[in-house]
């Protein structure tokens, strides 16, 4: 599990905005992650965070996700997460992020549920 730098890509997906996250979500990812969210702020639809290519999330990463969720909730925007591994599903569950973020296994099921 070598360290891999964070990157993100914004996609439009049938009226929703998808942030495809990749690499490690830790302190080194802070600026990029905030920038990616700022860019996606005024786009339409749900904000879907795609974790398919994420290798590692630490406590600082959790804090970054909390910050995104806080801001999105302030404008009443739904936040969705897809592609979480069982390990990070558990972390989302014990931190109770899963109470506030809608979780789907993958993009396909996220689309169906819309």
């Amino acid at each position: 599990m070598p360290a891999s730098p964070f990157s993100s890509q914004q996609q439009d997906d049938n009226g929703d905005t998808v942030l495809v996250l990749a690499g490690d979500i830790n302190r080194a990812a802070e600026q990029e992650m905030r920038g990616a969210y700022e860019a996606a702020k005024s786009t339409p639809g749900r904000l879907i965070l795609n974790f398919d290519q994420v290798s590692y999330v630490n406590s600082t990463g959790i804090a970054l996700i909390v910050a995104v969720l806080t801001d999105a909730r302030s404008v009443g925007r739904e936040v969705v997460a897809v592609g979480l591994t069982p390990h990070y599903l558990e972390i989302f569950s014990i931190t109770r992020l899963s109470d506030f973020i809608t979780i789907y296994p993958d993009m396909a099921s996220a689309r169906t549920a819309d």
Binding site: M1, N58, V66, L97
Partner: protein, 533 residues
């Protein structure tokens, strides 16, 4: 006949007897006749420059009458340093002739020589008396100090998850402060701080009695209030009137952090919490004043990271050069700013010393007890020692510099080390997360990201578990764990979005133990592997 007058603070001068009189004196059994300061003769003699004839002395003086009755004809005042230090009484000359002017000259010369000698003798005697008195006081203080030192705890309780520290410095006149830690069995620990009114040996003896009574009562009563009530009743008939003891007694459950306490008129304990400083109030009369008192008993749960500070009034009532008191506000400010136990004690004492100034003599005993819930490990010290005795095999040990990002290196090296241990993917990933968070804490909080300080990681394995020990240099640091994270509060902006580290660590592994050994801080992560092995 010589009468020596001892200088006294009162208004009567008193002859010291007839030590200098010739035992073969023809006057025979001549009694010492004092010259009271109130007698006009006293002032007259003080003003005279030589022998005084009693014959025609125009003084209404009872002493002169007495002296005449004893046949005294001449008085020679012995004046030194402006004080009447003695007198020579002379009867009739043996030749029955009157005293000649040569006799008088001789007497004057004699008086001039004798007065300074008597003065020196008096000073020497006075010095010897004072030195004896000082020695007696010093001896008493030594005894009092010995009693105190013998009875104060020799060592501090070592409890995993807790740091306990204490400070005691007696005033020159021992003030009767005391503190104690009483093991009550299991995870319960009795904590005592008290102050006996009065000073010196009497205070030390009452302190010794009270300490013994507290220990006996603590063994028989499970409730803090009942302990103080029992000690009060036992102490009341034994204690001298006008003496009493203020005392706080608390029972701490070191597993749960539950603190049950009662207070017999002692300074309130303060607790540093994430929401500021809290006073632990409970009412009760000082011990020994009145029998059959009841003591209010209250409870407080010491949360992770909280620091309880117990003090004696020697701290709050210390004065500076301007006569200003240290006071509760300064104490509370110090508690609010305090770090873990060891630094809390030294910081508070430094602040107090800065306040009173370097040359001030300490007015009263200073006593301080600090109890810090430093980590969430919920095992007793014995259990912690027991865990170490399992003697698992060390399979890897390495260090990383305190640079952000090196937690990933540590995760990879731990993963490599346990590659042959059968762990489920789930448990492996959890351990990886816990190791990452622990090493990150060690880098940031323990070693404060100082690149020259290493974080060492040791991996140990036995048949039932994997142990990962992460060690940094933050054992005496000021790290305050974040409060228990609450997502709602974070989303509402009431808590920082951060502060998940310790929460994740505890959720990811089966056991977490933290242990400080001086500056060395070790966190031990344990994952059970029995069912997977």
């Amino acid at each position: 006949m010589v009468s020596l007058i001892r200088k006294k603070r009162g208004n009567q001068s008193k002859p010291l007897g007839t030590d200098f009189a010739d035992p073969t004196d023809a006057v025979g059994d001549f009694p010492p006749i004092p010259v009271p300061v109130s007698d006009p003769l006293y002032a007259f003699l003080l003003a005279s420059s030589g022998p005084v004839d009693l014959g025609g002395l125009p003084l209404a003086s009872p002493t002169v009458e007495t002296l005449r009755g004893h046949g005294v004809e001449i008085i020679v005042p012995l004046v030194g340093n402006g004080e009447l230090m003695g007198v020579l009484y002379l009867g009739p000359r043996r030749s029955d002739r009157p005293y000649s002017s040569d006799d008088r000259k001789l007497l004057t010369a004699l008086a001039d020589k004798v007065a300074p000698t008597i003065r020196v003798a008096q000073l020497l005697r006075q010095q010897a008396d004072e030195s004896k008195e000082r020695e007696r006081i010093e001896q008493e203080l030594r005894i009092a100090a010995l009693i105190q030192q013998t009875l104060l705890p020799k060592e501090l309780p070592a409890i995993t998850g807790w740091t306990v520290d204490a400070f005691y410095r007696p005033a020159r006149e021992i003030g009767g402060d005391f503190y104690d830690f009483i093991p009550l069995g299991g995870s319960r620990l009795g904590v005592v701080i008290g102050d006996v009114t009065d000073k010196g040996v009497p205070a030390a003896l009452v302190m010794a009695t009270c300490r013994a009574m507290l220990r006996a009562a603590a063994a028989h009563h499970d409730e803090a209030g009942s302990v103080l009530a029992a000690v009060n009743n036992a102490l009341h008939p034994e204690i001298p009137p006008n003496m009493f003891v203020t005392c706080l007694y608390a029972i701490l459950d070191t597993d749960s952090g539950e603190l049950q306490y009662a207070n017999a008129g002692h300074n309130l304990p303060y607790v540093q919490t994430s929401n500021g400083v809290t006073e632990l109030r409970a009412t009760g009369m000082p011990l020994g004043l009145m029998p059959d008192m009841e003591y209010e008993q209250r409870q407080y749960d010491l949360a992770l990271g909280e620091v309880m500070v117990l003090t004696s009034d020697g701290i709050t009532e210390a004065h500076n050069g301007e006569g200003e008191m240290y006071g509760f506000d300064r104490l509370i400010a110090q508690v609010a700013a305090s770090g873990p136990a060891r630094t809390a004690v030294s910081d508070l004492i430094d602040d107090l010393e800065g306040f009173v100034g370097p040359d001030a003599e300490q007015e009263d005993d200073i006593t301080l007890v600090v109890v810090h819930r430093s980590s969430s490990a919920r095992v007793s010290a014995e259990a912690f020692e027991g865990l170490k005795k399992v003697d698992p095999k060390s399979i890897a040990s390495f260090s990383v510099a305190s640079v952000e990002g090196n937690e990933r290196t540590a995760i990879d090296q731990v993963t490599d080390a346990i590659i042959h241990v059968h762990l489920t993917q789930e448990k492996l990933e959890k351990l990886q997360t816990a190791v990452g968070e622990t090493v990150m804490n060690a880098i940031e909080h323990g070693n404060k990201s100082q690149e020259d300080l290493d974080v060492t990681v040791e991996v140990l394995v036995d048949t039932s578990r994997i142990t990962v020990r992460v060690t940094d240099s933050g054992g005496e640091g000021e790290f305050q764990p974040a409060p228990e994270p609450n997502l709602e509060d974070k989303l509402d902006g009431l808590q920082s979005p951060r502060g998940w580290g310790l929460f994740l660590i505890e959720a990811m592994v089966d056991q977490v133990h933290a242990h400080d050994d001086g500056p060395v801080h070790t966190v031990e992560l344990i994952v059970n592997i029995g069912e997977d092995h």
